[in-house]
Symmetry: C2
Subunit: 137 residues, 2 copies
């Protein structure tokens, strides 16, 4: 049996998200998917990108780095987008912000079973609230 | 020429950090190392962990996930530690906090040439300032 090419699976997944090709992306996700070590299940998971695209109409996933080591992958994503209102608890209100996300995924049979995302909130904060202390190291 | 085992190099690097075996960790870092796409160079880079261990005496790097795909690796790190004062711009003041970091490294000849770290500031905020809106997605 050949190992699945998870990089290729992940690129197909993000391409579906960027096309907002609902509900195709859910075909990439396992029924009992975990998010930050908590089982949220497919119905809750599939609502997340739909909600994100509603709140951020110009959202686009740009894969900057992708490292595959079955059964996991790690992706560094970059975003240049304009959240309509509040984003990560910050009043962005349509301002264009640039930020990154470092995210790990675990797969089983080419489906995502776990996700551990981290978004650069400090970068968004520095752009949305430039007077505030950004707390970067 | 065999490919370097970057996972093994990285585990040696974090073991040195955890032993606070200064200045051995700098042997793992290239002279013109970049941090978040900005060249900071080795002298500035080597000060970071020393400063972190001074501010967080019980700091310990726990590697939860490690994916290697030369020339890069991605690590998911977890921490359970007690920053003495302010950490990430938050008044932690010795409280024990639990958080994670997703970080990418690029290597050249087994030396770190670039780092892109993201720390879960929202998790620290929720523990240090439990009344505040944590801004998690």
């Amino acid at each position: 049996m050949t190992k699945p090419d998870l990089s290729s699976v992940y690129r197909d997944y993000t391409a579906c998200l960027n096309r907002q090709d609902w509900p195709k992306p859910e075909g990439f996700v396992a029924a009992h998917v975990q998010y930050n070590d908590r089982e949220i299940g497919l119905p809750a998971y599939r609502k997340m990108p739909e909600r994100d695209f509603y709140a951020i109409p110009d959202l686009h996933f740009n894969v900057q780095l992708l490292i595959s080591g079955a059964p996991c992958i790690a992706a560094r994503l970059s975003f240049a987008c304009s959240p309509k209102g509040e984003f990560l608890g910050l009043a962005v209100n349509g301002k264009k912000v640039f930020f990154t996300e470092n995210v790990f995924y675990k797969f089983r049979e080419e489906k995502i079973t776990a996700v551990w995302p981290l978004i650069d909130k400090a970068a968004v904060e520095a752009q949305a609230c430039p007077g505030a202390h950004d707390g970067n190291r």
